[in-house]
């Protein structure tokens, strides 16, 4: 299987496409430069949810990293890993991480609450994607800092389809796999 690795530095917003097995999009960051970059822009739906649930404020590219595949062959289950570069000390730890898919019927797809007891600011889960879109994530720090990030994601089959379509999709994917094994 031919796969790609993707890295993006938020200050330069460049894409580097290489070869490798892990189909993973990653965002790395230099916090000071990221702060100089100005606040992140979110789609209207995400801004509304953030204003309502978290309160208004600016989010910067920086310490939050989100790992997603470049292409999700099924939107029913997309692996996601969120990581914040912090030592999780009393003064400097993550309180909450939220993930948004603005093109989904419900834009909020994940909401994790953690604290200083976590030891390591990392969560992995699997989410649903209705269609190809840019996925957004934010991390709220104990000292009030707010980190944000975004990763574009291609979805071959979305999760919000009729069961009949889902059935055909599953059959199609099965055939694809069989072909791949030949």
């Amino acid at each position: 299987m031919q796969a790609e690795n993707r890295f993006r530095t938020p200050n330069r917003r460049t894409f580097l496409v290489g070869a490798g097995m892990g189909v993973v999009g990653m965002i790395t960051a230099a916090p000071q430069q990221a702060l100089a970059d100005g606040p992140m822009a979110f789609p209207r739906r995400v801004v509304d949810i953030l204003d309502q649930n978290v309160g208004p404020g600016d989010y910067h590219f920086g310490d939050l990293m989100m790992e997603l595949p470049i292409i999700a062959e099924s939107g029913f289950s997309v692996p996601v890993t969120l990581r914040v570069a912090t030592k999780m000390t009393e003064d400097d730890h993550v309180k909450r991480i939220l993930v948004f898919a603005p093109e989904n019927p419900e834009a909020t797809v994940a909401d994790y609450i953690m604290g200083v007891r976590a030891g390591k600011a990392e969560v992995s889960s699997r989410i649903r994607m209705a269609k190809t879109q840019t996925v957004y994530a934010v991390a709220l720090m104990a000292d009030g800092r707010r980190w944000g990030t975004s990763v574009p994601l291609s979805v071959t089959f979305g999760a919000c389809v009729e069961e009949v379509d889902a059935f055909h999709a599953a059959e199609f994917l099965k055939r694809q796999r069989v072909r791949g094994n030949e």
């Binding site: 029913f76 419900e106 889960s125």
Partner: protein, 108 residues
């Protein structure tokens, strides 16, 4: 619907101060309320809406699960091994069911 049987991975022993990974998976249909069945009827929402973990009665992790969570929700996270005791895992279902499991951990 089959009764969910959670699967939990926690190390049995750890050194004090170690950061340990905890992985959990519970089988659940997680109907998001937007899909249609073969008769064209909407399948009503039925998800696990909350998952939280306590370590000797102190909450260490919580996930407010959304319809956007994939079926058979899998969550992996970390916690610091502070003392010997019990980790309790709780899942709250939309239908009012509560699924609880616990794991013992020995901290040396």
């Amino acid at each position: 619907m089959e009764i969910p049987e959670p699967r939990i991975s926690v190390p049995e022993t750890a050194k004090k101060g170690d950061v340990i990974e905890i992985r959990t998976l519970i089988n659940h249909v997680m109907h998001n309320g937007y899909n249609y069945d073969r008769d064209g009827q909407i399948i009503p929402r039925h998800i696990i809406n909350t998952f939280f973990v306590t370590y000797n009665d102190v909450e260490v992790f919580r996930s407010n699960m959304q319809p956007g969570t994939a079926e058979n929700p899998y969550v992996a996270f970390f916690t610091t091994a502070t003392e010997t005791g019990k980790l309790e895992f709780t899942w709250l279902d939309d239908d009012g069911s509560v699924y609880k499991r616990s794991r013992e951990i020995t901290v040396t």
